[in-house]
Each structure stands twice: as structure tokens, then as C-alpha cells.
Amino acid sequence: MSLQISAENRVKPVIKCSSVYKVFGENAKKLLAQSNGLVDAKTFKDAGCVVGVNNASFEVYEGEILVVMGLSGSGKSTLLRCISRLTDTTSGNIFIDGQDLLAMTSKQLIEVRRNKMGMVFQNFGLLPHKTVLENIAFPLQIKGKSTDDSMKRALEMVELVGLDGRENYFPRQLSGGQQQRVGIARSLAVEPDIWFLDEPFSALDPLIRKEMQDEFLRLQGVLNKTILFVTHDFNEALRLADRIAIMKDGVIEQLDTPANIVLRPATEYVRKFTEEVPREKVLKIVSVMEPVVDASLLGPLQVSKDAIIYTVAEAVLTEPKHVAVVNALGEVVGSIHASKIINMLFGQADATDDIT
């Protein structure tokens, strides 16, 4: 799941937001125009408005998982709804594949949603009167595909999310985890390029949540979509994200890779989240490795640079020599020594200060 963004993808983001504002309430537009882009939640509140999203600018690249993390009321879901145009953005620009989303007519918007976007909802948003199969086939039928074709495709999706044998169940007959699998299958049925997930696992039990996260990563391994994932669970964000945007009161406090967020929290607020996080479970070897000084000092053991430290710690600790760190092609790109891991696990927090 590593972030391998090639140069041309950097140039052409799939989703691009620039100075997006969402203010709820009457006179929102007028107030915003008066404020010259400097929005203070308090003055707006006095005027009877609530600031949902405050000057959000960022890009999401192809095949990337961007997780928007924030507590309830931080504006994360509102941001997602702006980008899917489920709510109207008060001000700013949003581009989907270079097209101006906010300028689209409702007809164009319907086309984009039918072909490019899929969305998963916190409480599943399944149609209670339709069976699993009918729910999954719903977006296809809406598009006007024949019943035969859409049912065939829906059946494939049922298999993809592992619900075989439950095609004719109604949502009410399924557990939460199974219902969300239906939600996922439905959102993927039209093969969208962009996948929105709005707290998809928050309504599930912890064990099921873990299982569904694994399932999500497995699917993404196969499908490689461009993903905007909203969650209030910091650990979930760390587990799934290529990059994380942390929001507070509508403002994106920090947008960075999980490692950087843990290692270099930009604000006090972000630091509070990272305090309790066991670093070895978040960071990859690449963020603690050292350059190879002398190749002859390396032992026989090799670890991938993308391995989470925790998963290889035991092996590295049993190796007295320096351990070679290799990239995906098997080339040695660095080394690591058991002492570094011990520092990581039990020692000073600044042991990681000198790495990228």
C-alpha cells in the first residue's frame, strides 16, 4: 500500500480542492464574502452560522487512500459531502479529473455519479425493500442497464465481498458487518474511479471492524481506486491511510503521511492524538533505517523497507549484526541494528529524530 506517486500523477490529481468553505445558515454567502477568506468560527456563530469546512485545499492522487480524520463536529463528513456534492459548497473550487464539479449541471452531476463515484455510508444506507442482490444491482439499474446484465454483475460483486449464498436476504436479516459488505459492493458495482467512504466501519463491533479493515485493504489491493476515507478513529486512519488529513473545527490541521504525523505533529491538537500511539506499530522500517556504512557488516537477514517495525522487530532483535533493508526489487537501500529497535520500543522517543 505504499505511496508510489509518479511525476505525471502529481501533476494531475484526481480530486483537487482549493479554498473550499462550507458555512451553514442563512446569509452564509454574504458573511463569507465579507470575511475575505479569514473565517473565524466564533464570529460566524454569533451571526447564526455554523462553519463546517474552513478553507480546505488539498489534492488526492490516483490510487491513493486519503483518510480524513477528526472528532465529531470537526467537519470531516461535511468536507466529504462537499466533494461528492451532496451538500452545496459555499465557496471555493473542487475539480474531479480536471472537471469543475461545482459548475456541473445536475445532468452532468448525475453522469459523474453514475460512472465515476461510489460511496459507502456509516449506517449503510441500504434500501430496506430490496434484497442484497437488488441493492447491489440498484446503481446499475438506475443507469438503465438490463436486468440480466445488472444481476450478473451484482452476483460478481456478491462474490467479491464474500456474501455468496445471501443474495436473497433482506438488509434487516444481515448483521452490521454483512450489511456494510453490501454497501461496499453496491458502491463498487459501477466500477467507479473514485471511492468515498464515510465512517464505513464506525457502526461495527471492534472485531468486525478489524476484519472489515483487512477486507478493505484486500479490495484496494485488487482494485486500486482513488479513495477519500472519513473516520474518527485515529488508529484506523494510521492503518489504512497513504496520507492523513486531521481536521478540527472545519480546519485541516495537518495533512501528511502517517509516519510524519506521528513523528512530527504540526499542532498541539495533532500531538494529543499521537501521544498514545505505539510507534512501532505505525512506522515502517524505512523511517528508522540508517544508510549502509559497510556492506560487510550486514548479516544474512533482510527486511523490507515497507515492513511495519513491530512485525519484524523479533527477527531483527535476534540478529546480532546489522540487518539489510531492501526495497521491492530486492536492492539493499539501508540497514538497521537491533539497538535501534530497542531504542524504538523502550527508549527515548527522539531515537527517530534524525530520519526522514
Partner: protein, 686 residues
């Protein structure tokens, strides 16, 4: 004193009662005393309405219309021509369905002429043999749901045929089959429009409030004026009456659809139409189906009432039987109406819940098996009815159509039952009857009639003020003022007395029975089923047994009202008590409450707001029934509405009287709803 400091509302209430009784005792009854009765300022309004309606129907916007029979142009009012055309359309639809079921020539006449039918003896549409309709109902029930529904449909149709009520039943059915779908679609459409547009909703809501509290009879008069008399008028009155609950429930259902489902629909790229038809309406299905169920029930309830303006069928016969005091026959007819209601209700429910199997790789025969079955059935039954002609030569062809009142009947049995009861129980019932009338009802009625109008206003507006502040006081005061300015204030007092007596008894019975049944989950379920079943009965049915027992007296009316109005009180009590959260029940158990303490300290306080909503329903039900009681003979508003019905210029009186009844209902509704909302909010349940 400390008590009143802590509960200022009680102090206010006691003060209010003091003022009320002071006024009651001091104001002298005299026609000129404005504190005793307000002058009838609105006395001229009904005449104005009559004039307006007449102008609209006969003079306004004259147009030239070609009369094909006289073959010349004549001048007629636009409204009249429009309503006439509409009436013809509805009538054609009803007769079309009726002739499919019963045979006839009117449909053929509609496309040709009476002369054509006269000249060509073959041009008669034959009736479907009853066996085909019955078999078709069974097949439909089986296809939609399964054996149980098939059995129900079979028994119901067989009962109707065997008891010789086939013709009136099919007449009623033909009119329900037109009125019910139209009401449903109209309600669905208006509900959807109200959901989409806030303005429509704001305009529609007060209209619905009035429409749902207006007594049935009041609808008949304007319909009669604008559409004439006959089956079509009955159907139109039924549609007007049955649509409001459908609109309301559609709107309620649509509003309850979770926002995520709507968002999911939007993200799947639904157009507006797809959103409404494929996402919103199906998701709101539960409430919409309750609406459909209400429509069907209202249609059959109106089957009786619509017979006042010429709708043929079971209702008409039932009315006739009641008038002749033929209890047994009325009972059999009543059962027919109930059976049709139940079967239609279950069929529509099953139809809405039907599932499709997409992967059944069926052959042609498999896919069309029900159609083929029906064809076989049709052929067999038609052949059978021809054979029947030979078998029952000269007599009645029992395989084709059992003529009216030629089936078996249990009437003698019921009649002898009634006779037996009259013989053996007469003294007891009569003693009770006399006691009730002389010692309870008469004094109560006198007390109501002896109430000065000023005292009534002080009491009602004061209660409004204590419950909902100045706003409520003004709202209920406004409703009352309307009634006070008409010339029927005394009649309204009588309606109020009958209603309040019935509501008191109903609420008491309802709360006690409901509370007892709620103690046990089995009993709760049982009593809810009983309530469901009783609610399916058209209100008229309740008059049958009470006339049987008490004859034509006020007691009969009141007992019918009480029985009918107790249903919602029981239902809401059971529902309210059952919805007390389990954690609170557990907390109570762990504190060691006994059954009585649990009821008094835990269940009642929490369930009471909901129970009061039930009492509100009780009031509405009671009002309706009191008005229908005019059939038996009362001297309240209902009787005057009934009189207006037979009056050529009754439209003004009828509407004003209807509004009077509606406003009594709405005033009570406003008070109880305001109170219950506050209470629920205070308990954190809103």
C-alpha cells in the same frame, strides 16, 4: 400552600375552576344576556354558501354546449359541465368494473346507444360466474402470499355467494375498486408534492386537519350539490374522504426515510423521478401501506354512508335492514363488508411485499403458470355454469350467480335470538337503560346546556392558557368562537356532552384493559390483534348489536360510541406501556418494586403522554360515532347534518355544521397534542 408554590399550574387550575363555577352560578339564562349565549352572527353564512354554490353551478361562466340528444346548442355553466363530465367518467369506470363482475349492457351502451342494445338482443355483457371471481381471488391470494391468504379469500367469497349477497357485494366492490386506487394514487401524489415543496405542505396541513375531523355526512352534501346522486357521487365522496390519511401517511413516511438512504440514492446517480419512485416511496413503504390500509377501510366505511347519496351495494342494503330493524340481515351484510375489507387489505399488503426471483430459469409455462391456471379456471367455470343451466333448469343457476337474498340465511336465528333477549332480558336492560338515562344522562345533558357561554370560554381558554400559554388559549378560543356565533351552540353542547361522556368511559376502560394486557407479552399481542380487527370494521357495524340489545335509544348510541372509541385507548395504552425502556424496567425490578408500584411509579408516568394521544384518538373516534349516531336518533349536531342532507339547500348548513364538529375535535386535539409534546420533551422522549 407550599404545594401550590411548587406546582403553580395546579393553583392556576383551581382558580380557573372557581371562576368557572362563579360564572356558571351567577349568569342568568336569558336570550339577551351576552354572557349567557352569543348572538348568532353567522346565521346568514349558510345562506351565503348556498347562494355561492348555486351561482357557481348555474350562472358562473356560461358556455355553449352541444347537446347530442336534442341536437342543438344550449347554454350551461362551466362548473356544471366540468363536474358533469367528471361524474360521467367516474360512473363509466364503476359500471365497467361492475359489468365485468355482474354483467349488463351499460358499457355497450356507452359505446353505441340504447337503441342498438334494444335492437340487438345478443349485445349483453354476461356476468362472470361467481365461481370465477371466487377462484380468481383464491389464485391471487395464493400467488401473492400463499395458502393462508388463498384460504381467507376462498372462505370470504364463498360466504358472500352462499349467503346470497353476491350482487350487492360486487356492486360495492366495483365502487371500492375505483375509489381505493384513485385515493391511493392521489394521496401518494399529493404527499410527494408536499414532501418536495414546503409551501404545499403549509397549505395542505390545516386543510387535512379539518378534513380528518369533519364528520362523514358533511362530505356528502357538497358532493351531492356538485356531482348529483348515484354511484359516482358515492365514489367521489369516498375519494375525498379517504385521501387525507393517505396524504398524511405518505408525507410522514417520506420524512422518516433516513438521510443516508437519500444520499445513497443521489450518489448512485438517481434523477429526481428515480429518487422518488425507486428510493423514497419504496423505503417509506411501511407508512404508505398503513395509508393504503386506511384508504381501504375508509372506502368500506363510506360504503354505508355513501348509500345516502345513491351508492348501490351492501351499504344500501345494510341501511335498509337497519331501518327495518332486521338485525340478522344487517349482521350478515356487515360481515360481508368486513370480509371484503379484510381480503382487500391483505391482498394489497401481500402485493406490496412481493419478491421477484431473478435467477429462476423458468420455462414459459412456469413463468405464466398463474395466468394459465386462471384461463383453465375460467373455462371450467364457464362450462360449469352452462351445465348449471341444465341441472337447475328453470330454477336458480347456483354455478352462475346466486340472486340477491336467495342464498341461505341465518336471519331467523338472529331474529329469534333478539326476540329471546327481548323476552328474557327486557326488564333488566330496561331498568339499566332507564337508570342511565334518567339518573346519569339527563342530568349531565342539563348541566351542559345550563352552562353560560362565558363560563365555557373561561374554562376552555383557561385550560388552553395553562397548557400552552396565550397562543393555545387564542387557538382554542378561536375554534369555540366560530361555533358560538352559529345558531347551533346548544346542539354543539349536546354533541360535547355525548362525546365527553363516551370519552370518559372509553378512556377508563381503555386504560384499565390496556394496562392489564400490557403485563403479559402474549396478552399484549392478542389485544393488539383484536384492536386491528375491530378497526377494520366500518363504524356503522357497531350500531347493529347495540340496537339489538337496547333498541333505538340514546343508550344505544352511547354504547356504540364507547365500544368504537375504546379501541384507540386500548391500543395506545398497550403500546405506551410496552415502549417503556427495558433498562428502566430492570432498574425498577432491582429496586424491588411490586407490580402495582411498577405500574404507578415507572410505567404510567413514562407512558402517559402516549396514552393521552390515544385519548385524543378516542375523542376523534367518539365524535365521528356520535354524529353517525344521528341515524338512530339523537338531537345534536349530527341530527342537523342528517337533516341538511335531505334539504335542497343544505350545503351551507351542512358545511357549517361539519366545521362545528371539526372544530370541537381540533380544539381538543390541539390541547392534548400541546400537552403531550411538552410532557414528552420533559421526559426526554421527543
Amino acid at each position: 400552600m407550599k404545594f401550590f408554590k411548587n406546582h403553580p399550574k395546579y393553583a392556576q387550575f383551581i382558580g380557573l375552576l372557581a371562576v368557572f363555577f362563579a360564572l356558571y352560578l351567577t349568569v342568568t339564562p336569558s336570550e339577551t344576556n351576552i354572557l349567557w349565549r352569543f348572538p348568532a352572527l353567522f346565521a346568514g353564512v349558510p345562506g351565503g354558501i348556498n347562494g355561492f354554490a348555486e351561482h357557481l353551478m348555474y350562472d358562473w361562466f356560461p358556455v355553449e354546449i352541444f347537446d347530442p340528444e336534442l341536437e342543438e346548442y344550449e347554454t350551461s355553466a362551466l362548473v356544471r359541465e366540468v363536474t358533469r363530465g367528471f361524474s360521467r367518467g367516474v360512473l363509466f369506470c364503476i359500471e365497467f368494473v361492475r359489468e365485468i363482475l355482474l354483467g349488463g349492457v351499460k358499457t355497450i351502451v356507452a359505446f353505441t346507444s340504447w337503441d342498438f342494445v334494444g335492437d340487438n338482443k345478443w349485445a349483453v355483457w354476461p356476468a362472470l360466474p361467481w365461481t370465477v371471481v371466487s377462484g380468481g381471488a383464491i389464485l391471487l391470494g395464493y400467488a401473492l402470499r400463499g395458502k393462508a391468504l388463498a384460504l381467507l379469500a376462498g372462505l370470504a367469497t364463498a360466504y358472500i355467494a352462499i349467503f346470497g349477497q353476491w350482487e350487492p357485494a360486487m356492486e360495492t366492490l366495483s365502487f371500492v375498486l375505483i375509489a381505493a386506487p384513485v385515493s391511493c394514487l392521489l394521496g401518494l401524489f399529493l404527499g410527494a408534492v408536499a414532501y418536495k415543496s414546503k409551501t404545499t405542505e403549509t397549505i395542505l396541513m390545516p386543510l387535512l386537519n379539518v378534513a380528518q375531523t369533519m364528520p362523514h355526512f358533511s362530505y356528502l352534501i357538497p358532493v351531492m350539490v356538485f356531482f348529483g346522486v348515484g354511484d359516482h357521487a358515492g365514489a367521489i365522496a369516498t375519494i375525498i374522504f379517504a385521501t387525507p390519511p393517505m396524504i398524511r401517511l405518505t408525507l410522514l413516511g417520506l420524512k422518516r426515510v433516513s438521510p443516508e438512504v437519500v444520499e445513497a440514492g443521489a450518489m448512485n446517480g438517481c434523477t429526481n423521478a428515480q429518487m422518488m419512485l425507486k428510493v423514497l416511496i419504496p423505503t417509506a413503504r411501511r407508512d404508505i401501506l398503513i395509508g393504503t390500509n386506511q384508504v381501504i377501510m375508509q372506502c368500506l366505511a363510506m360504503a354505508v354512508i355513501a348509500s345516502f347519496i345513491g351508492a348501490k351495494g351492501l351499504g344500501f342494503n345494510l341501511l335498509l335492514a337497519l331501518n327495518q330493524l332486521r338485525i340478522g340481515q344487517a349482521l350478515e351484510l356487515g360481515i360481508c363488508i368486513v370480509l371484503i375489507a379484510v381480503v382487500l387489505d391483505k391482498l394489497s399488503l401481500a402485493w406490496a411485499n412481493k419478491q421477484t426471483n431473478y435467477f429462476a430459469d423458468d420455462s414459459f409455462v412456469q413463468r405464466h403458470k398463474y395466468g394459465i391456471f386462471f384461463l383453465i379456471l375460467l373455462t371450467t367455470c364457464v362450462i360449469l355454469s352452462f351445465l348449471g343451466k341444465l341441472i337447475f333448469a328453470g330454477g336458480i343457476n347456483y354455478f352462475y350467480l346466486i340472486p340477491h337474498n336467495q342464498g341461505i340465511t341465518t336471519e331467523p336465528f338472529w331474529q329469534s335470538g333478539v326476540d329471546w333477549m327481548v323476552e328474557n332480558w327486557y326488564r333488566g336492560l330496561q331498568t339499566f337503560n332507564n337508570w342511565l338515562i334518567i339518573d346519569v344522562l339527563m342530568p349531565m345533558k342539563a348541566a351542559y346546556l345550563g352552562m353560560p357561554v362565558s363560563a365555557t370560554f373561561v374554562l376552555v381558554m383557561g385550560v388552553g392558557f395553562i397548557i400552552g400559554g396565550l397562543r393555545s388559549a387564542l387557538i382554542v378560543g378561536g375554534f369555540l368562537l366560530f361555533i358560538a356565533f352559529t345558531e347551533w351552540w346548544d346542539r354543539a353542547l349536546i354533541t360535547a356532552y355525548m362525546t365527553s361522556f363516551a370519552v370518559l368511559v372509553s378512556a377508563l376502560i381503555g386504560i384499565v384493559v390496556g394496562s392489564l394486557c400490557a403485563q403479559n407479552s402474549f396478552a399484549s399481542k392478542g389485544i393488539l390483534i383484536v384492536c386491528d380487527t375491530l378497526q377494520t370494521f366500518p363504524s356503522f357495524i357497531y350500531l347493529i348489536p347495540v340496537i339489538m340489545l337496547f333498541g333505538v335509544t340514546d343508550t344505544s348510541v352511547l354504547i356504540a360510541v364507547i365500544v368504537y372509541a375504546t379501541i384507540p385507548a386500548v391500543r395506545y395504552t398497550v403500546e405506551g406501556l410496552n415502549s417503556v425502556p427495558a433498562t428502566l424496567q430492570d432498574a425498577g425490578s432491582m429496586s424491588g418494586v411490586n407490580k402495582l408500584q411498577r405500574w404507578v411509579k415507572i410505567e404510567m408516568p413514562l407512558a402517559f403522554p402516549h396514552i393521552m394521544l390515544g385519548v385524543n384518538q378516542t375523542v376523534v373516534f367518539a365524535l365521528f360515532m356520535v354524529i353517525i349516531g344521528a341515524m338512530i336518533g339523537t338531537d345534536d349536531l349530527g341530527q342537523y347534518i342528517l337533516k341538511a342532507l335531505s334539504d335542497k339547500n343544505g350545503i351551507g348548513n351542512g358545511l357549517m355544521l361539519g366545521l362545528c364538529v371539526a372544530f370541537i375535535g381540533l380544539a381538543v386535539d390541539h390541547l392534548i397534542h400541546t400537552w403531550a409534546d411538552q410532557k414528552k420533551a420533559a421526559l426526554g422522549m421527543a
